[in-house]
Each structure stands twice: as C-alpha cells, then as structure tokens.
Symmetry: C2
Subunit: 334 residues, 2 copies
Amino acid sequence: MVRATLRDVARLAGVSVATASKALNGQPQVRASTRERVMLAASQLDFSPNALAQGLITQRTGTVGLLTSDLEGRFSIPILMGAEDAFGTDQTSVFLCDARGDGIRERHHLRALLSRRVDGLIVVGARPDSRPSLGRDLPVPVIYAYAPSEDPRDLSLVSDNEGGGRLAVDHLIRCGRRKIAHITGDASYGAAQDRARGALARLTEEGLEVAGGEVWFGMWSEAWGRGATRMLLERCPDVDAVFAGSDEIARGVLDVLHEERLDVPGRVAVVGYDNWNILVANARPPLTTVDMNLEQLGRVAAQRLFAAIGGTLGSGVEKFPGKLVTRESTAPLR
Amino acid sequence: MVRATLRDVARLAGVSVATASKALNGQPQVRASTRERVMLAASQLDFSPNALAQGLITQRTGTVGLLTSDLEGRFSIPILMGAEDAFGTDQTSVFLCDARGDGIRERHHLRALLSRRVDGLIVVGARPDSRPSLGRDLPVPVIYAYAPSEDPRDLSLVSDNEGGGRLAVDHLIRCGRRKIAHITGDASYGAAQDRARGALARLTEEGLEVAGGEVWFGMWSEAWGRGATRMLLERCPDVDAVFAGSDEIARGVLDVLHEERLDVPGRVAVVGYDNWNILVANARPPLTTVDMNLEQLGRVAAQRLFAAIGGTLGSGVEKFPGKLVTRESTAPLR
DNA sequence: TACGTTCCTGAAAACCTTTTCGGCGAGCCG
DNA sequence: CGGCTCGCCGAAAAGGTTTTCAGGAACGTA
C-alpha cells in the first residue's frame, strides 16, 4: 500500500501544496469551494499527514515519554492509564519506556526519547520514596508521578499517604471502634511511615492509643498479615478494628480472623489500602480500602505537562488525597 | 537548553554536514583523524540526532505501535514487557495505545500511529478469543498477540490453552492422583473450553473420568471457586485433586479445602492457571500453576515484527506452550 | 482610465538529516 | 612529466510539511 502525500492531494485537487495544507488545517485564507475540493481529494486518497515532517517543522511532535520503573508493578499502570486518556487519542501519543529500575537503562531511554523530540516527560517511580532527578537542564518539561524527585525544584505529584492513613482511621472511629490496630509493611518505605503517622495522628486527636501498643511494621505480604494478626490477637484479644497498610496484608488479616471465627465486621472491622480490585473484590467479606486515586494522578500529570509545554512548570511536591471505598468489611458497631 | 544540530557539530569540527554525518554513522569513507574531530565536537555539544529528520529520509522511524485493549488486565502487561525488552532501548521505541475495548478508539489510534510512521504494530487482545482484523491493506506489518485475528491470513501468536490444560492434568496424574476435578471460568471463553479439552484428553488417555462427572464452568472469581468446591465435595467427597482454570479460582478452592480441614497437598492437590504472582505466592500453600509464558510471547512477537519490517510476515495462528510452575500445593501421593 | 482594496493562490524557504556523486589532491606507474 | 587510481571531502537533492510573502484577479471608486 502506497501512501499519499500532500503533493498528491494538491495535484488531485488542482491546487498547490501550500493551499492544500492551509485548506486541511482550517486556515481562513482559502475559499470554501477550494477547501472542499482539497478535502475531497484528501479523503479519496486516504491522506494522512506525515507526523515526522510536521514535527520537524512545527517543533512539536505531539508525543510524550512515559518513563516507568516497574511495569509489572501495580502502581504505574493506573497512572499510565490516566495519562493515556488525558492526552486525547488524536492529539498526543505516548512512548512507553520501562527502565526496570536501572539507572543506566533510564539514561538510554531518556536519550532516545529526547532524540525523538518528545514534547514532555512523565516519570513514574516504582515505590513512593523519592528518586534522583533526571536533571534540570532538559529541553522539555518533566513531571514526576508517584515517586517524587529528590530535587525540590522539580514538580512531583504524589499520593497523600498521611491523609490516607487518617482517612482509614477516621472511618473506623466513625464506626464506633476504639481498639484500633495498624498492621503494615516494610518500615523502610516512606509510604508505610506516612500512613502510620496519619493513622496515629487521628487516633491521638480522639484520645486513643493504637491497639497492641505499637504499629506492626513487617512486610507487604499476606503471610505477614496473618502472622501479625495472630500476635495481635494474643496481645490484645479485644481489638475491634485493624487498619492494614495494604490490601495484601488485609487479606492475611481477614484470613486469620476467619480462622478464629471472629466475625468481620461484627466483631472486628478491617480496612485495607490500594483498592486493588482482584484482592478486595474477592475478599471475604469484600474489603473497605483506601484508593489512592492513581488514575486521577496520572490525568493531572498529563494535564500539567500539557499546560507546561511551551510555558513553564511549577515545582515542589503536590499531594493528592485518596478516597475511602467502603465495602462490607467495615460497619458501625451495634 | 538549546539543541545542537549536525550543522553545529560540523562547524565546530571544521567539516561539512555530509562528512559529519558519515563520521558519526561509521561510514568508511572518512579519515580516522577527521572522524575523531567530529566525534569530539558531537560530544562537546551533546549532540543527539533528530530522529524525525532521520525517519523522514530513511523511511524507518524505529518505532512500533502497541495496541492493547485492556491495560488494567493482567495479560497485556507481560506481553508488553516482553516486547519492550526485545526491542533494544536504543533501537526501537514503543508507542503504547489503549483502545479500552472500543473499536472507534482503536481506529483513531491506528490512524495516529500510521501518521507517525511506525514501522510495525503489535495488537494485544483483552481475552484469548479471536478479534477483528485491522485489515489487510496496511502499510506496515501487524502481529496479533494473545487474542488471534479473525482473519487467518494475519499472523497471530497465542497461548496454547489446550496444551496448558494437558500439562496441569499430566502433573496431577504423575503425582498419583486419580480423582481429578476441573473447576473453571466462564464457558463462553475459548480459553476455558480449550483448557478443559486438554485436561479431558489427558484424563481419557489415562482411562480416567473427570471427578464429579463434569467440568465445572462458572466464573473467573474466588467466590465461584469456593462455591464450586463445596458442591464438588458434596458430590464427590473422595476427590484427590482439583485443576482450577485460573489462580483466582484456585484461591477459592484452597480456601474451602482449608475450611474443611482437608490437607493440601496431602489429601487434595490443587493446580491453578496464570501464575499470577500476587495470588500464587501468597496462597496457603503456595500454588502450583500453569504459566502461559506471556513475556516470551511478547518477545517473540517483537522479534517476528522486527524480522518482518521490510520483508514479509507469515500468517496463521502460532501457539506457544505454557510451562508448569510447581509449588507446594501439589505433591506425590504417599 | 487609473488606482486602491480585498481575496485567494502559489513559490519558496525552512526544519534536519542521509546519500549520491562529482571533484580535488596525492601518490604511483610508465 | 602525463595520466591513472585511490582516498577523502563537500555540494546538493531528497524526504513531506508549514508558513511567509509576493502577486494576480476581481471589484469598486475617483
């Protein structure tokens, strides 16, 4: 299949390429009848403009680079989807690059993207701790999503984990719970710390202590959720709510509560974190959880980037609130 | 930051652009000392060639389009990763487009990709049933992955579900199991039918009938896995193995077996399907499962596409065998 | 008739690179 | 010393589009 160029369209319509270009781009200085002839010719030839030539001359390619560090991770995908649909299909296309967490590979990708003249970049981190900046002297705007840049002059969009922890505990308090425990993941994750801080702050406001006397840091796994819950029940048998630092952990918690014949939510309420559908929907009972609104984060990242192209970008770290999604694992205490 | 062009490099090196180009591209007809001067100039200016201009003239952009229908789905991602790393980072960049299962949107994306002059396309379906062809008169090669094209003249790469079902049952038989049940998902999925067919074929070879008298089609959910298992245990209490059509279903199966205090794998062995890490690793016990080798499928898709660029593509449906990943949910019967 | 306006069209430059081909100088042979 | 080859370099065309600017036609006015 041979592709038609603007020349072919112009020839068929009996005009010059200049006029054909103007006609197709809606420039005003072309007679209506001429425009029609050109449009007709274009559709007859199934003409579609060569984006390379366009980009070469306009200095705008209508492409952005999405640089991620963990494709398999569940966090980049929603962000990526948000970004993908914020850029309309006709306007902007997205280059996807997975650096696999490797700095060298990241530099390679960066170089390739710049040589393709992307209009902007979104960098999606693998975990919500800060990461090295790509540098300040790039010829295109860059937005960091999920994982903030170490350089405060960059613009980063992150999830508000402290707010999320607060949200979860607040909900449990409103359900009348007073003995609230917090089982969460690896203490070296900023996210774990932040969520715990938010949770504790809300407890303190209410004049409560965390059940079990401490936050249970451990691992982001069901097994840890199970183990921690067993220890928790031993130390504090009258616990009436557990805020889990992830849905995985929450699944483990539910599992043990189920084994121990402790009714959820009648006896103990459970809140997870992430709203990871496969886990929460299949849980018994379906899990109340905190959704980080990552698609929204992705959408906003795309919009900000779009606005910044040509102009200039803000800086600093912008936090996005999560939202609580209630399901059957929480309910008011009768 | 201002970008250097080849002109700038040439000027700095004191040669013409033609020579500069040849020097940087390793063409033989340039003196070593000259080449060195050019390379030095290029690195001083941090020159990186404009890929648009290159593409315009060479008619090769070094980009491919990845057209998927469900980004959130767990099947496109591994394929995407495989493809991503088969194309080296310097060589090829990938445009990611999610059509959200919408045909109109797909046409839009297709048009955009063609106008960007991608060198080829990979189409990743959402479910493993055949999907409409993009058409035969495209100016670039197209490979369908996971979901085959309806048009047999297209080239499709799919997972061998029948072989996978056979694999699972074969393993159970080798473990000495004789009462093997099959609980699987929606019967309208070709994948469910194929896996069941493979499973039954292997049973028949062994002179066995499926335990419970029939294949239990239902839904791709844990809840169905639980429900079906309860019914199964009622109808056939001496079942000694369950082959589940997905890891989700398998989780439900394990859950009920656990409730009923039936030891896994001592009393009943369980095999899942998909090797979905979050589910299998956290299962109690960790789940033996069939891995569809999707990354490999993605890699091969990329390689085939690469080979086809310029040349011509094969046609028909090529099936990729899965592999059994054994964990603790299966073991020989003592 | 001469001239100024308004509308539309087209020639040409520009974007940046690759590739072809002609030419220049040097070295070699007769 | 003439002519040849060989090695290296540069001028120019090509790729497809957008945009500027000049100019032509038609029309109205003085």
